[in-house]
Structures are given as structure tokens and as C-alpha cells.
């Protein structure tokens, strides 16, 4: 073989690691350092592991957030032989992922005590999976993307089965593991086919190839893109690839369910945007292929919204209901993906919606982790009867989050939905927006039904007195309520950040 040709993809000038690159990779390095440090802490016997591990996990995650904030305004820097990029798009998502890890850790501390599963591994896995998400949002190479996906998923499989003496939790973890790993492998097969066509796994090189071929795609390329699309649609739980999600959400510990709704879905969408814009969706595909993909995503979006919302109407378990509502939200987010390449605001509305989605879901699941009883039951609608008399403040917060999920003003959910649908109309997707708005109107019923039970029914069960209230729950829920209302009333700063992030991309 011709060695010169084979080695040509390693560019020696890109293998240096200078000061600028070191600074740009700071968020990842802080989290990595945090993982290593917390692992060492958790095997020491002399100390009170619980508090040390918890506090140091929070400290390192906060350091990561701080350095990601500093990188928000910096120009893009390519790292590790163009495998990763550190730009404001990546930094924005890094803040979101680490923020969700912090809120999840805060809302799980007392939960783990209550379930008697307070092990230090929990916080390590939380940090590991957020590292995977961070790498996913900034990967420029499909193999790196795959490895990041696996880092994230493997940690989350274990977290889902963390209540390991409980059959439900184990079943959920194994189901998720089998389906998730099959989806990853299918994604990887798509990568292999793209490699076969383009002789590279770097998404920018693939884009160059697409531009050069002037829309003349080989069938192998189309199949490869289709398989990659399958992997993403599985991860964001689009109908008909959604069957795993309600089961996994029901079986997983409540704070982890919140982390999955917030983190996993956001990571999948971040990678989705980066890969599909780079693979030429919206710019370089031939008109015919573009239309094919557009129609495919259109059908997926409509099916996801309709099925998610209608099945959610029938659920009485809150975690299952929120799982279906999360499927429905995937549908709205797909509307953002569809219209993103067709209007001048690009993916900015999608980013705002993702932020709104993260904030309200983390808030709801923080409350649910507090309400769940010893064996993670007590989360059906009827158990919430008369909650407002027992916990008036938390009931009010729950009301704020559910109003936000239903998309009613003055909450951030309204801002997100309004802007998303407005931009979709601008992009000419009127029929899609009509369907989304109708689905959204249906969703108001099942969100407000929870509030009917909370505020208008008499108390039936009296358990809940023994629940230990802690400052961490208050902090997590309070922060999310402030975000929901603040961004709902004064959204301009949020919109500006999203626009800036998209411009950099």
C-alpha cells in the first residue's frame, strides 16, 4: 500500500496542543479531572464519602460551567486533529448539560438517602454521562460522536438500573440497554457506509465530498445517512421508535428520569443539528434528496406529536405521562429541525425551546423525586390528591412547570413554543404548524388534569409525612422556577444568546 497516501489524513500541524487549545478544552478537562478525583475520593475509607463526593462533584461541574461561560464569546478552535471543535454552539450545550447534571445531583441527594442507595458511583456516572454529552455536542468526527454517544449511554444504562434490588429498575435498564445498543450499532453501520463512500469520517470532509459531487449521491451514501438518521431518531424517541421510552422512564429512579429527559434528548438534538447541517441537509443535498428527507422528517414529526399527545391522555402514572409528553416535545423539536434550514433565524428557536424544555423538566422531576416514596411508587395521579394542603409551595412550583409545559404565558414554555411555531410559519410549514398547535392544545388537558388533582381534590392518602425535606430540593426547584418565570417574562436575553450561538455555528 502507498504509505504516503494512507498517512495523508494526519496533519502534523494539527497535532500540537498549544495554550489556546488547552484553554478551549478546559470544560472537558475540568469534568474529566472531576471524574478522576471523585473516583479516588470514593475508594478512601477514612472520610464521609457521601458529602465529600457530592460536594466535589458539584464543585467540578461548576468549574466546567464557569470555563464554558468564558468560552461562549471566543472564536471556534479546532482540537485534536480536527476531531473536536470548541465554539459557542458547543459551549452553550456544555453549560446546559453540566447545569442539568448539577440540578439532578441536587435533587437526588436526599432521594438516594430515602431509597438507601447512596453510593458514590452515582455521582461519578452522572459526571461521566455529562462528559459524553459534552463531547457529543462538539464532535466533528463520526467515530468520536459514536464514542461520545456510548460514554453517555453506558453511564445512563447503569444509572437507570441503579435501584438494583428493584425488579422494575432492572427490567428498564436491560430493555434500554438492548434497544439502545442496537440503535448505536445501526448508527455505526451508517458511519461505516459513509466512510466507504467518502473515505473519511470527519463531517466537514464529508460535506466537501457532498459539495463536490453536486448532488449525485451514490445509493450507499443515502443508506448510510438513513441509518445515521435512524440512530438519532431512536435517541430522541420519535414515533415509531419510541416504545422504549415510557418503560425506561417508569423504571428509572425519578431524578435520573429528569436527567434523561433533559440531557439525553438535548445531546441527541445538538449532535443532530451539527451532523445534519454538516452532511448538507438544507444546503448541499440535491433538491430531490432534500425533499425526500424533508418529507420523511415531516411524517416523523407529525406521528410523534400526535401519538405522544394522544397516548399521554390515557396515562395515570405521572412518570409515564411525562414520558409521553416528552415524546410529544420531540415532535415539536423536529418541527424546529425541519424549519431551521429554511428561515433566517436558523436553529435559534430550536435552541430556545430546548432550554425551556430542560428547565421545566428538571423542575418537575425534582418535585417528583421529592414526592416519590420509599420504593419509588406514589407517583400516580391519585397520590397527588390534595397535595396543595400538604406542600403549598411545591404545588405552586409544580403548577408553574406544568403551565410552562403546556405552553401558556407567562412562562418560558410559551416563549419557546411561540418562537418555534412563528419561525416554522416563516419557513412555509403552515400545515405542520397547524397540526402542532392542535396537538399542543390537546396537551393542555393532561397537564392541567394533574393540577385538578393537586388543588381541587381532597386528600386520600396520608403518606408523605415522613418525607425528609431538604435545602437541596428547595434550591433545585427554586432555581428552575426563577428561570421559568424570568425567561418567560423577559425573553429577550435568551433570544439574543440563542441567535449569537447559531451565528457562530
Amino acid at each position: 500500500m502507498n504509505m504516503g497516501n494512507m498517512m495523508s489524513f494526519i496533519k502534523p500541524e494539527l497535532l500540537v496542543f498549544n495554550n489556546l487549545m488547552f484553554k478551549s478544552s478546559a470544560p472537558y478537562l475540568w469534568v474529566l479531572l472531576g471524574i478522576a478525583f471523585v473516583i479516588v475520593l470514593s475508594v478512601l475509607n477514612k472520610i464521609n464519602k457521601k458529602w465529600f463526593v457530592f460536594i466535589f462533584m458539584l464543585v467540578f461541574a461548576c468549574l466546567g460551567v464557569r470555563s464554558a461561560f468564558q468560552l461562549m464569546n471566543e472564536p471556534a478552535v479546532l482540537l485534536f486533529n480536527q476531531m473536536l471543535v470548541s465554539d459557542s454552539f458547543g459551549s452553550f450545550f456544555n453549560i446546559l448539560f453540566l447545569g442539568s447534571a448539577i440540578i439532578t445531583a441536587l435533587s437526588s441527594f436526599r432521594y438516594l438517602d430515602k431509597q438507601e442507595i447512596q453510593h458514590p458511583e452515582y455521582y461519578i456516572l452522572l459526571l461521566l454521562s455529562s462528559l459524553g454529552m459534552m463531547l457529543m455536542a462538539s464532535a466533528l468526527d463520526l467515530i468520536v460522536l459514536f464514542i461520545a454517544l456510548e460514554i453517555m449511554s453506558l453511564a445512563v444504562y447503569v444509572l437507570v438500573g441503579f435501584r438494583r434490588h428493584d425488579r422494575k429498575s432492572n427490567e428498564a435498564a436491560l430493555k434500554y440497554f438492548i434497544l439502545g445498543s442496537v440503535a448505536s450499532v445501526i448508527f455505526l453501520y451508517g458511519v461505516a457506509l459513509l466512510y466507504g463512500v467518502t473515505a473519511t469520517t470527519q463531517i466537514r470532509e464529508i460535506l466537501k465530498h457532498v459539495h463536490a459531487s453536486q448532488g449525485a449521491m451514490s445509493p450507499l451514501f443515502v443508506i448510510g445517512v438513513g441509518l445515521i438518521l435512524f440512530g438519532f431518531l431512536f435517541k430522541v424517541a420519535c414515533v415509531p421508535l419510541h416504545m422504549w421510552m415510557p418503560d425506561v422512564y417508569e423504571g428509572a429512579p425519578a431524578p435520573i428520569t429528569g436527567f434523561m429527559t433533559a440531557g439525553l434528548k438535548t445531546a441527541a438534538f445538538a449532535a443532530f443539528i451539527r451532523v445534519f447541517t454538516s452532511l448538507g441537509y438544507g444546503t448541499a443535498f440535491s433538491v430531490q434528496l432534500q425533499n425526500h428527507f424533508h418529507d420523511l422528517l415531516w411524517v416523523f414529526a407529525v406521528a410523534t406529536m400526535v401519538v405522544g399527545n394522544l397516548v399521554a391522555l390515557l396515562q395515570t402514572n405521572l412518570k409515564r405521562m411525562l414520558a409521553y409528553s416528552s415524546i410529544a416535545h420531540s415532535g415539536y423539536l423536529l418541527v424546529g429541525i425541519l424549519s431551521g434550514c429554511l428561515n433566517q433565524e436558523g436553529y435559534a428557536p430550536l435552541l430556545v425551546y430546548l432550554m425551556a424544555y430542560i428547565v421545566m423538566n428538571l423542575g418537575v422531576f425534582a418535585i417528583l423525586s421529592f414526592l416519590s416514596s420509599r420504593d419509588d411508587t406514589g407517583l400516580s395521579l391519585y397520590d397527588l390528591s390534595g397535595l396543595s394542603r400538604r406542600h403549598p409551595v411545591f404545588s405552586f412550583c409544580l403548577a408553574v412547570f406544568l403551565f410552562s409545559m403546556a405552553g401558556l404565558p407567562p412562562t418560558v414554555g410559551f416563549v419557546g413554543k411561540y418562537w418555534l411555531f412563528y419561525s416554522a410559519v416563516q419557513a412555509g410549514e403552515v400545515s405542520l404548524v397547524v397540526i402542532s398547535v392542535l396537538c399542543s392544545a390537546v396537551s393542555v388537558y393532561y397537564y392541567l388534569r394533574v393540577l385538578v388533582y393537586v388543588y381541587m381534590r381532597d386528600e386520600v392518602s396520608s403518606f408523605g409525612e415522613q418525607r425528609s425535606l431538604s435545602i437541596f430540593y428547595h434550591f433545585a426547584v427554586g432555581l428552575m422556577v426563577i428561570c421559568t418565570l424570568q425567561w418567560g417574562l423577559m425573553p429577550s436575553s435568551l433570544l439574543q444568546i440563542a441567535k449569537k450561538v447559531v451565528m457562530s455555528f
Binding site: I178, G196, E250
Partner: protein
Amino acid sequence: MRTQINPQVILVFAAIIFFIGLMGVLVRKNIIIVLMCVELMLNAVNLTFISFSRILNHLGGQVSVFFIITVAAAESAVGLGLVIALFRTLRSVDTDSIELLKG
């Protein structure tokens, strides 16, 4: 003289193995066998990478295989751990007995 296998043949072979693995995941009842089928699919992808690397005369595919093998090892470790945890509470490794979560 050494006989060379045509890389295109290996590509087809890998595709067949991939679909055997996929079918195995979908129809087999024993969780251990399902895990083996996932590994089979991963190795089919490895073969695809290697034969493309041969066809294109490009080293990237072979490097990718090392990473995929590492990920596959981690994945089977986590998978078997989860199977053991399930076996402790369920006393079975049959997919039909996974029935608590429905709807």
C-alpha cells in the same frame, strides 16, 4: 502465490452477518444470546470498516476498528452486569419474563 479475497465479497459477507445479528436480537428469547447478537453486529461493522479501508487504501477505517473494539468490550461488560442484576431479582434470563413495565 497468495490468493487474495476480493474486499467486495467481505463487504457483502459483513452485511449478511449484520442482518443475522439484527434478526437474532429481534427473535431470540435468551438475553445472553441477544447480547451475543449485538456483539455480532458490532463485529460486522468492524469487518465493513476494514474492507472499506482495504478498498480505499486509507488507514482511517482500521484505526476506527480499535476504538469500536474498545467500546464493544465496555458495552458487553455493562450488559452482562445488568443481566446479573436482573437475574438476582427475576431468577430468569428469558425475555418473556420481562413483563412488569407495560403500556
